[in-house]
């Protein structure tokens, strides 16, 4: 698959998965079933759940808790089988998010996603927050 096709997958993830809140409908078109996921606080140990399941659950929990979520991509760097994204987000914490009850705080933050592709889909995702962590803004 081309670099442009990999970037298109990432753009779909941001638009359809995050902004439209449709990750459960499109996840299998974007990521492989054996997706490896690294992110703060997300277990990936074998026997718990596959990264793909955690990915779907985490994204749907996020979009559900922030119904007006808006994500943009200030920077997307793509080369070979890599797409690295700076995902800027904003939204209102209107519903429970993991252990955090709704605060109705309006939050703005950023995450760096480093994605490796295989066969035209996301195969490995490493996520890091930068700036103020989301948990600090809603607790």
């Amino acid at each position: 698959m081309s670099v442009e096709q990999n970037v298109a997958i990432c753009n779909r993830f941001v638009e359809e998965g995050l902004n439209q809140g449709n990750i459960l409908a499109v996840a299998d078109q974007l990521a492989l079933p054996d997706l490896q996921l690294e992110a703060p606080g997300i277990p990936t140990a074998e026997g718990h759940a596959t990264g793909f399941d955690i990915f779907k659950q985490f994204v749907s929990m996020f979009t559900g808790a922030f119904p007006d979520l808006k994500c943009t991509l200030p920077y997307t760097i793509a080369e070979d089988d890599i797409v690295a994204m700076d995902i800027a987000y904003s939204g209102t914490h209107a519903k429970q998010f993991g252990p955090f009850p709704a605060t109705n705080n309006f939050v703005e933050g950023g995450e760096l996603w480093y994605v490796k592709f295989r066969d035209g889909k996301m195969a490995h995702i490493r996520i890091c927050e930068y700036g103020t962590p989301l948990a600090a803004m809603i607790s």
Partner: protein, 138 residues
């Protein structure tokens, strides 16, 4: 600047500055107006480091907490202006860091690091760790 030239700057940063402690190179690699948006962890009052001297202080503080720190670039991608780096560091946590009391454990922490370059020098970095809370918690 080509993508490969930009990657060379970041390779020098991770290998020579952060691992081999050649702090004088900070003044070759970074622009005077350098700005670093860091993860705001517990115990930190600000998440922006401005200027090369303040960045040097942060590197020294980091090395005090992890004297044997060894950074490895796992992968990077660039368009010539931005270099996105996937990295891991290994080090023994013997000093306080970002609110975490020393554990004396040898830890490996992974992260992502974006740097923007202009005229061959790094002008801005924004970065984060994936598992530092898990790695440094008691």
């Amino acid at each position: 600047m080509t993508s490969e030239d930009a990657k060379t700057v970041l390779k020098t940063l991770f290998e020579e500055v952060l691992t081999n402690d050649k702090l004088d190179l900070i003044f070759e690699l970074y622009a005077p107006e350098y700005e670093f948006i860091v993860p705001k962890l517990a115990g930190m009052t600000s998440n922006i480091v401005k200027g090369r001297e303040n960045f040097k202080k942060r590197v020294i503080a980091f090395r005090t907490a992890f004297p044997d720190v060894d950074y490895r670039i796992q992968s990077f991608a660039s368009n010539g202006e931005i270099v996105a780096t996937s990295f891991a560091f290994t080090g023994t946590h013997v000093g306080e860091f970002a609110g975490f009391a020393p554990t004396n454990r040898k830890v490996t922490v992974t992260g992502n690091h974006f740097s923007q370059l202009k005229n061959g020098k790094i002008v801005k970095t924004w970065a984060g760790f994936t598992n530092i809370v898990e790695a440094l918690s008691p």
